[in-house]
Symmetry: C2
Subunit: 153 residues, 2 copies
DNA sequence: GTACATGCAAAACATTTGCATCCGA
DNA sequence: TCGGATGCAAATGTTTTGCATGTAC
């Protein structure tokens, strides 16, 4: 399991880019909140507590960098914000994308892992001659709490 | 197989809303291009050919209405535009969501249908106590043409 | 005639960019 | 020192909204 922070520093040096306080703080913010799906604005607010002078533009630029380096994943819940979460890696460098359950009532996002998608991908690959390299699965519905809450209706 | 146009008119009347030329033209535009994933701007350009005085705001307002009435589906390809397509209904009123294959090279979007998701949904429903009502699946990769084109590299 | 719809322009919104200054290597 | 990084403000581009006018019913 590679240390994200060390990897980030290594990748930056490799590209002749600089290791700055801001960049590290932004990565830490995302590492500390592995299942929160933060928006740029939210990341900005978090980092400002440690470094009040940081600018929102720096957050956007760093997010883009982290995304290109495959250290974070984008997530679009269709609410007008792009959200980000730290990448979930396996022992190798392979990214294990998990999937998202989105509650239509409370808006909470739950994650789950399932290997069935791989079977599906193989099938599509064969039948449609389309080479799949990434996927995104979102299931919308009602979480346990909201089902309970609305049972009487 | 219900007629979208008649259904739209019926639903409008039911809600005390009015059947206008603009609303019908926008629905027709989407009906005529069932697999094109149009942006608001593109719909606007199409409708302007029939009705040059239409405003972009009307397109946005109608799209929102059609979306609320479940006559069209939203699709976000992450390119900064929200896209829309006519809903694909079965014999009953059930919406048969198809899935999308997005080529990372040429950007073309292909659709496919697969029932495997239902098995997945049942499993999630049982194991996580989450009642699923809708889903969205996007697979990213390379289409046949682009695979061929880039074979030499 | 009375809502509701429309078109226009202005506003709102997230995100990006230009540029002078700053700072890591 | 020097090229990349930052912060700020301005710009961008999509989508929304306010309001006077138009139109379906």
């Amino acid at each position: 399991m590679p240390d994200n922070q060390e990897r980030f520093k290594m990748l930056l040096r490799q590209k002749g880019l600089k290791v700055t306080t801001q960049r590290i703080l932004i990565l830490e913010t995302l590492e500390d909140r592995p299942d929160e799906h933060l928006t740029a604005e939210e990341i900005y607010e978090c980092v400002k507590q440690e470094n009040p002078d940081i600018g929102l533009a720096t957050v956007y630029r760093t997010i883009q960098l982290l995304s290109e380096l495959n250290l974070i994943d984008k997530l679009n819940l269709g609410d007008g914000y792009v959200r980000y979460e730290i990448g979930h890696h396996g022992d190798d460098a392979t990214i294990h994308h998990h999937h998202h359950l989105i509650c239509l009532d409370c808006g909470n996002v739950f994650t789950f892992q399932d290997d069935m998608l791989e079977t599906l991908e193989t099938r599509i690959q064969d039948s449609m001659d389309f080479k799949i390299v990434d996927h995104e699965v979102k299931l919308y519905g009602y979480c346990r709490e909201c089902q309970k809450k609305n049972q009487g209706e």
